[in-house]
């Protein structure tokens, strides 16, 4: 299109376009900051170090899940099974570090991540190799993994976890909660992977146009498989942290966690059709969810209302995203 046609009347339009670009880029960050400021004034304890650390620790688990979910959704898929997989890996980890002769927490760590990865691999194989829709596969797995959890634990909590293991959920390094440190490592690794590695580019290409990716020589099935494998492993990691934090492994843990993870990704603006998005925005999405529920807790709002408010925020976030993308 020829630039010489741009008239002076276009200048104002160009400026409003620039504002639009700025908003579409930083709008989510702006909403988070506004929310943060409002809550700071609404409750005196919100800004206390103890409370902020608490928020971060709460966000860690959903954040780790949401990072895995970002990979899955970027490829154009979805994983509904992670709440159940998280519960299963939690009881598996718990069973290894309970009683009089607990294993080393490292064993529990690898068991949890391994079991999670195994379930992710099953999901990934069915979806990538046998082309079963991700929604169906992971919906089935949601039920199966929950059943496996109840079987494994006989439906009962596993208490008396070793102090070394509990440190993974409750401990601090230099005043920072251990789960937050784990989350930070996962986030930075994911950010570098998506932004700077060949594999990261492949994830975007597969979600953006799988046919084009295939024509370009990208092993599309392997890429899709790997996203579910990673998601499963991260669900295992999150399951282990949750168990360590709650001091006993609960078979009913993680109910609805998949929805919170998807919500964080969606609030962050990642497209559910794949190919567009970033873990940075997912992080902000997870922080928004965390800060809202913390703020509402502080103000003593009933958790019933909290669910309604959280749901409404998800829809509004996507609504804003839509209207931003609509052309005049």
């Amino acid at each position: 299109m020829s630039t010489e046609l741009t008239t002076t009347a276009g200048a104002a339009g160009a400026r409003s376009q620039a504002i639009g670009r700025f908003l579409s880029r930083y709008g989510i960050l702006l909403s988070f900051l506004i929310l943060f400021v409002i809550l700071s004034f609404a409750h005196p304890n919100f800004l206390s170090t103890a409370n902020l650390m608490n928020v971060l620790r709460q966000v860690s688990i959903n954040g780790i899940l949401a990072i895995g979910m970002t990979f899955v959704i970027l490829t154009g898929g979805i994983d509904l099974s992670i709440g159940s997989v998280l519960a299963l890996t939690g009881v598996v980890a718990g069973s290894l570090v309970t009683g009089g002769d607990p294993y080393n927490p490292a064993i529990a760590f690898f068991a949890a991540v391994g079991v999670g990865a195994l379930f992710g691999a099953v999901n990934g194989t069915l979806i990538a190799r046998f082309s079963v829709p991700a929604f169906v596969v992971t919906l089935g797995m949601l039920s199966m993994a929950r059943g496996a959890t109840l079987l494994y634990s006989n439906g009962r909590p596993i208490p008396n976890l070793s102090p070394e293991f509990r440190w993974l959920g409750q401990g601090f390094i230099a005043g920072i909660p251990v789960p937050v440190i784990i989350f930070a490592i996962v986030f930075i690794a994911a950010w570098i992977t998506l932004r700077y590695t060949v594999y990261g580019r492949w994830i975007y290409a597969v979600g953006g146009n799988v046919k084009s990716a295939k024509t370009s020589g990208i092993p599309t099935r392997t890429v899709i498989f790997s996203a579910y494998l990673l998601m499963g492993a991260l669900a295992g990691l999150a399951g282990m942290i949750l168990t360590a934090r709650t001091t006993s492994a609960l078979p009913q843990a993680g109910l609805g966690y998949e929805l919170d993870a998807i919500a964080a990704v969606v609030i962050g603006g990642t497209s559910l059709t794949g190919g567009v998005g970033s873990v940075v925005y997912t992080l902000i999405g997870a922080l928004i969810i965390g800060v809202i529920s913390n703020g509402l807790d502080l103000m003593g709002v009933s958790s019933y209302y909290q669910q309604i408010i959280k749901g409404a925020i998800i829809v509004v976030a996507v609504l804003i995203d839509r209207s931003r993308n609509l052309n005049p």
């Binding site: 299109m1 020829s2 010489e4 046609l5 741009t6 008239t7 009347a9 276009g10 200048a11 104002a12 339009g13 160009a14 409003s16 376009q17 639009g20 700077y196 590695t197 060949v198 594999y199 990261g200 580019r201 492949w202 975007y204 290409a205 979600g207 953006g208 146009n209 046919k211 084009s212 990716a213 295939k214 024509t215 370009s216 020589g217 990208i218 092993p219 497209s271 794949g274 190919g275 567009v276 052309n327 005049p328």
Partner: protein, 529 residues
Amino acid sequence: MAEPASPGEGKPEQAHHVLVPPASVSPSAPEQGAVADTDLLLAATSISKAFAGVPALVDGRIRLKRGSVHALCGGNGAGKSTFLNILMGLHRADAGTVMVKGRVVHYASAAEALADGIAIITQELSPVLDMTVAENIYLGREPRRLGWFADKAKMEADAAALFARLGFDIDARVTMRSLSVAKIQLVEIAKAISRESDILIMDEPTSAIGEKEAATLFQAIRSLQDQGVGIIYVSHRLTDIFSIADSYTVFRDGRFIEAGDLADIDRQRLISLIVGRDLRDQEARDSTSTGEPMISVSGFARHGQFEDISLDLAKGEILGLYGLMGAGRSEFANALYGNAPKDAGTVTIEGRPVEIRSPSDALSNGIAIVTEDRKETGLVLTSSVSENVVLAALDQFSRLGLVDGKKVASNVDGQIARFRIRTASRDLPVQSLSGGNQQKVVLARCVETEPKILICDEPTRGIDEGAKREVYAFLSAFAAAGNSVLMISSEIPEILANADRILVFRRGRIAGELKGAAATQEALVHLAS
């Protein structure tokens, strides 16, 4: 277009052509007067439209008469699509007037335009794949029984009658999914025609169909013309325009340039109006074939698609593959590239037998492909120009799995300059580019993998004349450097001018080979059908 021409260029010669002034007083005024009300279906003057301050259309005009096939010509970015969208009520014009059958209209939606008897056949097909052909045709206006129930029998009978009238060989009861792209396009055409509109807009109706379907379509157009329907015909295919249209309007850079009767103008002149500079009608290229074998394909077969395909391609040669839709050309090309399965067949490259099971095998053996449909299978539309260019060659730009951003940037900038891709930045989404520039991105991506053999499936579909020339020039230079090109095209003049040798596909087999003086339009059509 490579160089934007200033809007004034090309005007001095206009004297003997009909130039419609803004006040819409036609030079053919004498015959207007009394008949104007009934004869003039559509008159649009001084239409302008800007998007977010960027003008897409500055001065759009057209005058469409009853029973006329009026070609609307212009390169990519000339403003044709914006103009048509305004006529259809999909966009609102910033200024200007549209008169339909003597009445000034301001459509707020496509439904209003449809109700006024204007229908459009768009370039982008939008079938509901799992519904039947008949259901698709009557979508949203289903005949009913008892007020609530869709009358399927009537729908199917009506659709069958419509196809019979138009001469389309399509079963109305099958699902859209079971049809070829060409047949789907014909259904979309039939759907628009079934609305019994007075004004029919056809946007690149032949871009996805073969010569045979095109001939059927042209027959249907002529019968509509006889019924007094006015047709605005948009196409990059000049051959089509000269065989079906009677009058023309040319847009360039968002402005009306010229209108007139096609009888008063030749192909050469029309091309120069469209591109804004003199562009000679292409002459056949001089072969650069060395005779040294590059790739030999032998006994390729895939049940129901193609059989016994063997060919040799020399270094420096451009080999054309021609055939009607469904003749198996594209299916063969995809099988050769490892993108689709084959039942039998061997490949030898530079004397060495190779096994190609996947696109990555093909790429590592120096074969790259420009697929038939750049939006469907070619580009990752959600990604940037830069990401699309390097997608197939990321390994070359990375160390230990990490992409070297600087290396990518300098390389992509080099490709943007080399192919003259018109984009403000390598980081813009590729979907913001015009069709011709998107196609150049696909070519740039192929070049990044440093191929020896390039398969091009319809490399110039839907792109403007100027961009086409650049694609041809690239292919020619690529071959001259000792590489080989397999060029698939259903545009006869294109394949005649660019291929050193042409293999003709007919019903999945090679029907013959044409070369030199024997390669004529008639011979091609004869062999193919």
